[in-house]
Symmetry: C2
Subunit: 381 residues, 2 copies
């Protein structure tokens, strides 16, 4: 890809840790990293407008190729002028490959060298996704950053299974790269797999890097493994990734895992967690997670989080939010989603500042201490 359109600029490496501060230059603007990316599965971050996303500092948002391929269809979005036009978001967008959804949502999947036969999770229709098809759909969607189609193997998987899987994923990565029709406009990332096996992560990372992608994702995480294992998966992979390319840890959004990822040199994260738990009334605050439906907030007229600058915290009380949740009012889901996203985005702002000031290890340790987190078995705040 044309370096003027997409490139990662490494600006500062923390002297205390492997954490990096940089800027991701994209066709739809520059964003600072490390970054947390809100998820807008169906071309909408649930309940939020593009303006609200901008206001909370969203940077890059993510949409899901599999979901959009099924509804409304890639051709409908392509004819709209692409995803940016379709959903009226003019900032950077990232699409995944569909690989994760094929393996997490679909039934009766059969993996062949050519691709994967599976069933539509909504109506059971037969579907087929291949590396070429995934890239074709992502070309139609037109996101700034797109992903190679990979197999997301079950966890745990045997060494033998995983070895075959990463070999196939490498062949798929190569095929997808060759099929990529918009290399001048869309940055294609390769995905490192290999489960919890150190040798396979090393092999997968080294071979994927040889294919020369615009960035590298660490996949196969958040599939049921412990956090301790997840951090090993990062360690085993990231040391082989080039420092001049962005590194993306897929599907991770709890505060402890974000900080552990940053510590190891990860630049990009995404997760449905903040918005999903928000819709259940679970809110991330400077006092830890709270459930706003709790009786004790009935007459609590304080802001949700005194330390937060989001429109929810600046304009509404805990009592009002509780009322909205107790009455199943949509505004509650909206205000809660805004808050949780802003909480993580603000955390990453603090993270970037700490990296630039060479004190990220202190920052991380203080955060873990404040919320009684640890690196092996946190309660996932």
């Amino acid at each position: 890809m044309n370096k003027e359109k997409f490139w990662y600029e490494l600006i500062h490496e923390c002297k205390q840790t492997g954490a990096r501060y940089g800027v991701l230059h994209t066709p739809h603007g520059d964003v600072e990293t490390p970054i947390f990316m809100p998820v807008g599965t169906l071309a909408t971050v649930k309940f939020l407008s593009p303006d609200e996303l901008k206001t909370i500092g969203s940077g890059v948002i993510l949409s899901n190729t599999y979901h959009l391929w099924i509804r409304p269809g890639a051709d409908v979005i392509e004819a709209a002028g692409g995803l940016h036009h379709f959903m009226n978001y003019d900032g950077p967008i990232l699409t995944d490959s569909g690989g994760f959804q094929v393996f997490s949502l679909s039934k009766n999947r059969k993996i062949y060298e050519e691709g994967v036969h599976f069933r539509n999770h909504l109506n059971g229709d037969a579907l087929f996704l291949s590396p070429e098809k995934s890239i074709e759909v992502q070309n139609q969607l037109g996101a700034d950053i797109i992903m190679s189609f990979d197999e997301c193997p079950p966890y745990p998987a045997s060494h033998e299974y995983m070895k075959d899987s990463i070999e196939r994923t490498l062949r798929w990565a190569k095929r997808g790269k060759e099929a990529h029709a918009n290399a001048d406009k869309q940055a294609l990332f390769g995905i490192v797999q290999g489960g919890e096996f150190e040798d396979l992560r090393a092999y997968s990372a080294q071979e994927t890097v040889k294919l020369d992608f615009s960035g590298y994702s660490i996949g196969g995480t958040s599939v049921g493994e412990s956090k301790e294992v997840m951090y090993k998966m990062i360690d085993y992979s990231i040391k082989y990734l080039p420092s001049d390319k962005p590194r993306y840890l897929m599907g991770v959004g709890s505060t402890d895992a974000l900080l552990e990822g940053v510590l190891r040199g990860v630049d990009m994260f995404d997760c449905v967690l903040p918005t999903r738990i928000a819709r259940h009334g679970t809110l991330m605050t400077s006092e830890g997670r709270i459930n706003i439906s709790n009786q004790k907030y009935e007459r609590d007229y304080a802001p949700l989080d005194k330390e937060c600058d989001c429109i929810t915290c600046k304009n509404y009380s805990r009592a009002y939010l509780r009322h909205l949740f107790k009455c199943n009012e949509g505004l509650g889901l909206r205000l809660a989603s805004i808050h949780n996203l802003r909480f993580l985005i603000r955390l990453m702002e603090d993270v970037r500042k700490a990296i630039r000031e060479d004190r990220f290890l202190d920052f991380k340790n203080n955060f873990f201490k404040k919320y009684s987190l640890n690196s092996t078995d946190s309660r996932g705040f």
Copy 2:
């Protein structure tokens, strides 16, 4: 009430019709009339933020006393500093008396001189609402405009039943007025009842006016009667209402009924209709009502309504709105609600202009012609 805080200023009477242009001065700002008031039943206009309401020109919004009394409770809102603070809306707010909900939602209601015994529609708990209690709750909520507690009689009802009912409603109006504790801050309206009976409407109107309220509502409409009958109900009542006080037709929100009401001298309207149908994908446009979920909009990249200035029409396509509705995405409900409210608010802006220019009859006739409406049996656009 202190005239400086709440008063109706009649500015112009249309030379073609009985339509009036005026300004309602309230403690939370001035609004031009005739006005359509969005309904925020539970201290939230579903899915919308106060900022969005302001942007669409909401003027006055309405909340429901019965619903708020039950959830979260009037004391919770009072302790927040009243409804304006609780929901973060600093424009004028109107609350109804609870009378309509008692009669439309509640079971096992028994009407006594003292008040009404009935059941909570959510959990069946025994409840009692009286004129004094309704006003007390509305005093706690603190809206700018509050309503007398009335009986909303069944339709049809016999002349005998209705006569007894309006006599009791008059006694209740007097009791409520005496119980009103915030007369310096909240304007209390009387409610004219009397069903479709000309003599009873006349009697109810004249006797209610004798009690000297800050404004007058025409109640007992939108209870199953035909539009022809509803217009008669207005005619029978409105001629007895003083021209220096605002007139409010309760629960009316279809375009034809709004224009027929304005024609007869009504100043204020409210209805859940625009937001309720919006949430089902039914959108009011300059081409009439459309259902956005229809297949034919799948690749329709035009704005919802080319003549509309709302953020939905300025930023999103029919294809995107259809996609959101097909996927049950909350942003769809939100964008549809914004549009329908803006449609009616914009209609009322045009109405006010037509009145000031003494061409409201032409305006109304052109509108009815354009959408094939008539005054007796319209399809309710």
